[in-house]
C-alpha cells in the first residue's frame, strides 16, 4: 500500500491518493491535499468536507454528487464550482475518506 506525507505525518493511501484509513486524517492536512488538487479551501469547501466526514462516519461510504446536492446545503451547481474535477471524488479525497463506492 503506498504512503504519502501530509503536514509531516505519513498516511496510507490507495493508487489514486484516497485515504485507506480515515482515522489517519486530521483537519490540518486538508489544505495540503486540496492544494494538490488545485483548490484553495474556503468556508464553503469546509462545509462540504465536514459533511463528507459526517456521512462517512454515519454510513460507511461517501455520498454521491446527487445526494450531496440534496443534503449538504450546497447545490450540485455550486459543488462543481467548488470542486470542478468532480465533487464527490475530490471532496472525499480532501476529507480523507475512501473513494465513494460507485453505484451498480
Amino acid at each position: 500500500m503506498p504512503t504519502t506525507t501530509y503536514t509531516g505525518t505519513e498516511v496510507t493511501v490507495n493508487d489514486e491518493g484516497f485515504f485507506t484509513d480515515p482515522s489517519q486524517w486530521r483537519e490540518d492536512m486538508a489544505p495540503q491535499i486540496a492544494h494538490g488538487e488545485g483548490i484553495e479551501l474556503t468556508d464553503r469547501h469546509w462545509q462540504v468536507i465536514k459533511f463528507m466526514r459526517h456521512e462517512y462516519e454515519a454510513k460507511g461510504t461517501g455520498p454521491t454528487v446527487r445526494v450531496l446536492g440534496k443534503t449538504s446545503g450546497v447545490t450540485v451547481k455550486e459543488l462543481y464550482q467548488l470542486f470542478p474535477k468532480g465533487p464527490a471524488k475530490t471532496a472525499a479525497k480532501i476529507a480523507g475518506i475512501p473513494k465513494p463506492r460507485g453505484c451498480i
Partner: protein, 426 residues
C-alpha cells in the same frame, strides 16, 4: 390471523406474494398486495419496442391475474406508511394495518429533476425508453430519423437495469445498419461513470464493444441540463454534447409516498435495508424486495428473483420468532443484447465482479462473450418471467447463491472489485 401487506404489484411484489402464499398455510397469514393500477408491464421488453422488435400491446398483463388464489389485490395509491402504528394509509383515506410490511414499489423516473429534460423538446427530440409511453413514442421518432447525431445518455446512477442503455446503443447500431443509413448516423453514449459499466472487467469488454460498433463513449459526464431546443446536453462541469435525437435515462428515485413516511427512506426515497437479510433498517417487521431497496446490488428483475427465495424464508422465520438468515449474496444475472441476434451474459454478486467463463457451470452459456445462445436465452426469458419468475418458482440450475463452477477468476477479482493491475508505473 396475521396480515402481510405488500406494497407494489410489480416483479418483486408479485413473486414474493406468490412465494409467501405457497410457503405459509392459508390460516397462517392473510396476504394483501396494494398497487395504484392493475397494469403489470414486462419491463425487459421496453428495450425492444423502439426498434419495432416487440409489440408494445403484448407487454402488459393485469397485475391481479399474476397472483395465486388466496392473495387479495387492493387497487389504491399509497399515501404514507405509519411505522409507529404498523399501518399503511391509502390515498382514498382508509388505512390498512399490518403485522409484516413488504416494500416492493420499485424505482420512479424523475425527469423533472434534471433542468430542461422534461421541458421543450421532451417527447419530440428527447425521449426515454424506460416507460411504455416513452418507448412507443421513441419508436415513431426513430422510424422518422434519417441521419444525424443520436445520443444515448444516463443522467446519473442508480438506474434500473444499468446495462439497458448500452443494449440500446448496440441495437441502434444494428437498426441503422438494417435501414442502410448507419453511415449517416453518429452514435454517442454518454455516462456519468468512468467507463461503459460499473464493474471493471465488464466495463473493459463493453467499452471495446461500443468501439467495435462505432459508438463514441463520453465518460464522467454528469448531465446538469438538457437543452432540447438547441439539441445539447450540458454537464455540470460545462462540457457539451450536441444531438439531433436524445435517448435519456432520467434520474431515478423511490416512490413519493416514501418521502411522506417519516423514518422509512433515504435522501433518494430508497429504503435502507440489510443487504443480507433484506430486513429494512427502519423496523424489524418491514422488509424490502427489488428496486426499492437501498442495497449495493443492481436494480434488476434477476435480483428481485434471487432475493425472493431468501426473503420468503426470512419472513416466515420472522413470523415464527426465529433469527433471520443472512443469505442474500447480491446475485445478479443479466443478458446484454448486442444486436445481430447475439447477446452477452453477465453474472455477479456483492463480492465477485462479472468475469468470463460459462454459466451456470462449465457446459453452460458463455459469459461476457457475444453468442446466439445468449440471445435465445434473453428471448426465452420473456416466457420464464410470466410462468416461472412471477409465480415464484425456481429456475432449474439457477438458484439464489451465485454459481462459481464455470467461471474464470481473474487474480485480483474479489472484494470491491478493484481493477486488475496490468502494468505498474515505474
Amino acid at each position: 390471523m396475521r396480515r402481510i401487506v405488500i406494497l407494489g404489484g410489480g416483479t418483486g411484489g408479485t413473486l414474493i406474494a406468490n412465494r409467501l402464499r405457497r410457503l405459509l398455510g392459508p390460516r397462517a397469514a392473510e396476504i394483501v398486495v396494494v398497487d395504484a393500477d392493475d397494469e403489470h408491464v414486462y419491463q425487459p421488453g421496453l428495450l425492444f419496442v423502439p426498434f419495432g422488435l416487440t409489440d408494445p400491446a403484448g407487454l402488459t398483463r393485469p397485475r391481479h391475474r399474476q397472483l395465486r388464489p388466496g392473495i387479495a389485490f387492493r387497487r389504491a395509491a399509497v399515501d404514507r406508511v405509519d411505522l409507529e402504528q404498523d399501518a399503511v394509509w391509502l390515498a382514498d383515506g382508509t388505512s390498512l394495518g399490518y403485522d409484516v410490511l413488504v416494500i416492493a414499489t420499485g424505482a420512479r423516473l424523475i425527469p423533472e429533476e434534471t433542468e430542461g429534460l422534461a421541458g421543450p423538446g421532451w417527447m419530440d427530440k428527447v425521449f426515454t425508453f424506460y416507460s411504455l409511453d416513452g418507448a412507443v413514442a421513441l419508436r415513431s421518432a426513430l422510424s422518422r430519423f434519417d441521419g444525424g447525431r443520436l445520443v444515448v445518455g444516463v443522467a446519473d446512477m442508480p438506474i434500473k437495469c444499468p446495462v439497458a442503455p448500452l443494449e440500446f446503443s448496440f441495437l441502434a447500431d444494428w437498426y441503422f445498419r438494417q435501414r442502410k443509413i448507419r453511415d449517416r448516423v453518429e452514435l454517442t453514449f454518454v455516462t456519468p461513470l468512468d467507463g461503459a459499466f460499473t464493474k471493471p472487467v465488464a466495463s473493459r469488454e463493453l467499452s471495446g464493444l461500443l468501439n467495435d460498433k462505432g459508438v463514441d463513449l463520453v465518460t464522467e459526464f454528469n448531465t446538469g441540463e438538457v437543452d432540447g431546443q438547441a439539441g445539447r446536453l450540458i454537464s455540470y462541469d460545462g462540457r457539451e454534447v450536441g444531438f439531433d435525437l436524445a435517448v435519456m435515462v432520467p434520474l431515478h428515485g423511490g416512490q413519493a409516498y416514501v418521502d411522506r413516511s417519516p423514518g422509512l427512506g433515504d435522501e433518494l426515497g430508497f429504503i435502507p435495508t440489510d443487504e443480507r437479510t433484506l430486513q429494512s433498517k427502519a423496523r424489524p417487521n418491514v422488509f424490502v424486495i427489488g428496486d426499492a431497496a437501498g442495497i449495493p446490488a443492481s436494480k434488476a428483475g434477476s435480483v428481485a428473483h434471487f432475493e425472493g427465495e431468501i426473503l420468503a424464508r426470512n419472513i416466515s422465520r420472522y413470523l415464527a420468532g426465529e433469527p433471520l438468515d443472512a443469505a442474500f449474496d447480491g446475485h445478479t444475472n443479466c443478458f446484454i443484447e448486442t444486436g445481430f441476434g447475439k447477446a452477452l451474459l453477465i453474472d455477479f454478486n456483492y463480492g465477485t465482479e462479472p468475469v468470463t467463463g460459462r454459466f451456470p457451470g462449465r457446459l453452460g452459456l458463455p459469459l461476457l462473450r457475444q453468442s446466439r445462445l445468449n440471445h435465445a436465452g434473453k428471448l426465452a426469458f420473456g416466457w420464464l418471467y410470466w410462468h416461472v419468475l412471477l409465480p415464484g418458482r425456481e429456475i432449474p440450475a439457477v438458484r439464489s447463491p451465485m454459481p462459481t463452477a464455470g467461471k474464470h477468476s481473474p487474480a485480483s477479482s474479489g472484494q470491491g472489485g478493484s481493477p486488475p493491475q496490468t502494468r505498474k508505473a515505474r
